[in-house]
């Protein structure tokens, strides 16, 4: 007997993202002909999606609460901070969108960026360029300074806006190591005299690679010999010396150099646990923050090297396909303002060095900058600045990283 066959349909309710209704400002060329007031008006009521490394609660709070508050109150713009673990992840999103032909509805409105990732964005045509003169606070930026106008040796060419400056600094625990080595040659001797007390994160870890570059500069007899385009002959000569130094050092490293920490976080953990005596970081103010939040022992002290440490500038960039360029421009202008740079420089907020010329800010901002008391355990900025070393071009950097992995890491 045939029976009616009933089919049961399962329905799933899936949420669908709402479509935004405010002005689309994907056309960056059109914005270039507008006045700043017009841009502010267009940006009003919109949103901006800023992708940035999200591993610090103090930076997150500064961005979401302080910067986000200004954007909401003064410009009626919603800031959506998207925390990521690795900037390359975002660059890949933009790259994927470009390959798929998404030219005006991109996901990303702004990225905190520098170095290799900037080079990828610029060379791949992934950046919105040529707008910096639109920003009223651009006058605070000293574009004549080569360390601002070049991002790891790559000319900025109006494709990004500086946000902070930073410089590599070392940290020692005054309770266990009273007199740390204060130059690369001293460090090499010190490591041999204190076996097991030192190591560095294996490149391609960002901070580990910077440490290796310090040794590379030392082997080259100074960074002056390495500036400019990648030079194969020079590289072969200097790298041979560098690998020799580092391989000689290996038996004296933590766990006889049989293994290296793979991240700076792991390296700092070793330091916090007193397994090693020295650590370092590209963010000098981090020592103060880490003492206050309990990551580092309170007896930690930051310091610079007498033969110099490498410094760089980090930037914010707007992808070519950002649909919220007007709002992103307003955000960049806020970030550059004397007030926001001052707040960022406060040691209990972040302690990041300003990327603007403090001399060019309003008198009250200038006075407040002068009043900032650095965390006492952070390496003094003047001491670091006196011996600041430039970064190499990205082609050098990737060659050195690769060379380390092949010759030392193995």
């Amino acid at each position: 007997m045939n029976k009616t066959i009933k089919t049961t349909l399962f329905a799933t309710a899936l949420s669908i993202a709402s479509v935004n209704a405010y002005a689309d400002t994907a056309d960056g060329q059109a914005l270039l002909n507008k006045s700043w007031n017009e841009i502010k008006t267009i940006a009003k009521g919109g949103e901006v999606n800023w992708f940035m490394w999200g591993g610090s609660d103090s930076i997150n709070q500064y961005v979401s609460e302080y910067i986000g508050g200004i954007l909401k109150d003064e410009y009626d713009i919603t800031l959506n901070r998207v925390g990521i673990s690795d900037t390359a992840e975002v660059v890949n999103i933009v790259l994927g969108e470009k390959e798929a032909g998404v030219t005006d509805k991109g996901t990303v409105d702004m990225i905190w960026i520098n170095g290799e990732n900037f080079r990828t964005m610029k060379q791949g045509g992934l950046a919105y360029c040529g707008y910096t003169d639109l920003l009223p606070n651009n006058t605070l930026v000293n574009w004549d300074n080569p360390s601002i106008a070049n991002d790891f040796g790559v000319p900025v060419d109006g494709c990004e806006v500086p946000w902070s400056k930073t410089q590599f600094s070392f940290t020692h625990n005054t309770a266990t190591t009273e007199n740390p080595p204060r130059s690369i040659p001293e460090l090499i001797e010190w490591v041999k005299a204190n076996p097991g007390q030192f190591t560095y994160p294996a490149p391609p870890d960002f901070n580990g690679a910077v440490f290796v570059r310090h040794v590379f500069y030392h082997a080259a007899g100074g960074v002056e010999n390495l500036l400019g385009e990648f030079d194969q002959a020079k590289y072969v000569e200097v790298s041979a010396k560098t690998w020799e130094i580092l391989n000689d050092l290996e038996p004296y490293l933590w766990r006889e150099g049989k293994t290296y920490p793979t991240t700076i976080a792991a390296h700092e953990q070793l330091y916090a646990n007193s397994e090693i005596s020295l650590t370092f970081n590209y963010e000098p103010a981090g020592v103060g923050i880490k003492i206050e939040n309990g990551t580092f022992p309170p007896t930690s002290q930051g310091y610079g090297l007498t033969d110099g440490t490498i410094g760089n500038t980090n930037y914010t960039i707007i992808p070519f396909n950002s649909p919220n360029k007007a709002a992103a421009l307003v955000l960049q202008n806020v970030l550059l303002s004397g007030k926001a740079q001052l707040e960022k420089a406060q040691p209990d907020v972040w302690g990041a060095a300003p990327a603007i010329e403090v001399d060019r800010t309003a008198d009250d901002v200038k006075a407040d900058f002068a009043k900032i008391k650095k965390h006492p355990k952070v390496a003094p900025a003047e001491e670091l600045a006196k011996y600041a070393l430039p970064e190499l071009q990205a082609s050098w950097i990737s060659a050195i990283e690769k060379g380390w992995i092949e010759n030392v890491g193995r």
Binding site: K6, S15, N49, N80, V90, E97, V102, A265, A272, E275
Partner: protein
């Protein structure tokens, strides 16, 4: 009927119990302690200073952990539900029938488990871009099916390999409708498999990172995204606090389904029969 004690088996049970506790229960304890610690250095057994800072940050609007908890639960439940919907019929076909190209289909279903996600994720990204699914919760749910379906389908095909369809024929011959047959005969028989497969699917979806980041485009923030930010930056205190919240649903679901996970359950016995 015998009641003799099987001592070697019992000591094996005690041993596996100890191993399980060491592997599953002990690791979260330092994480929990860390979430209340302000610094915890070798050789201290316990932190010297305690603070609620990490928890305050975790529950703040800036951190967005609570919003993200709800969205993560919704995504994982939806992905689990869809996995069951697709995985049960697929498992039945693979477990009960022989057909041409079956091995190939099995390989295709297993592929997402074998091929690393990162290798295919950029390709998926452009397909989803084309379909307008990026930056939406829908897109994230759908992309989570790629890693969840193999588990669901494999468990179900194991179940159906040991399943006797004659019970269904019997029910039908006694006058039950196809729906009633499914509801009263098939479903109870395959329930352990649905629960185990669903648990797998839920936990696999729950822990996705790169698929969520790329397809969600930062508009869909799930807990792993927030957790990895801090885990990779060495903030053990905040990682601990978010981690405590992160493992909660897993524990709740594990407790709710515990009785189906014992060695006697058909779902576990069915493994490897495919």
């Amino acid at each position: 009927m015998s009641t003799r004690k099987n001592t070697p088996l019992q000591s094996l049970r005690v041993l596996s119990g100890i191993v399980l506790i060491t592997w599953l229960v002990l690791p979260p304890i330092p994480l929990a302690i860390w979430s209340f610690a302000k610094g915890w250095y070798f050789p201290d057994i316990l932190p010297k200073r305690w603070t609620l800072n990490a928890w305050e940050y975790t529950f703040s609007n800036t951190a967005g952990v609570i919003d993200s908890l709800w969205i993560t639960i919704w995504i994982s439940l939806a992905a689990t539900f869809l996995s069951i919907l697709i995985g049960v019929p697929a498992g039945r076909a693979l477990g009960m029938y022989k057909f041409k190209g079956k091995e190939f289909i099995e390989l295709l279903i297993l592929a997402p488990v074998i091929v690393p996600g990162i290798a295919v994720v950029l390709g998926i990204h452009s397909v989803f871009l084309f379909m307008g699914l990026t930056n939406t919760v829908t897109g994230v749910i759908l992309v989570h099916l790629i890693p969840t379906l193999p588990y669901m389908t494999l468990v179900m095909s194991g179940i159906f390999a040991n399943y006797d369809a004659a019970f269904e024929d019997q029910a039908r011959s006694l006058g039950a409708s196809p729906f009633k047959t499914f509801w009263y005969v098939t479903l109870p028989a395959i329930m352990p498999g649905i629960i185990v497969g669903g648990l797998f699917a839920f936990l696999v979806s729950w822990s996705q990172y790169i698929l969520t980041l790329l397809i969600g485009g930062g508009r869909v923030i799930t807990l792993p995204l927030l957790l990895f930010n801090f885990a990779t930056s060495g903030r053990n205190d905040i990682t601990g606090a978010i981690g405590m919240i992160y493992i909660l649903p897993g524990i709740v679901i594990l407790l709710l389904t515990a009785k189906h996970l014992s060695g006697r359950s058909g779902a576990v016995g069915g493994f490897g029969q495919i």
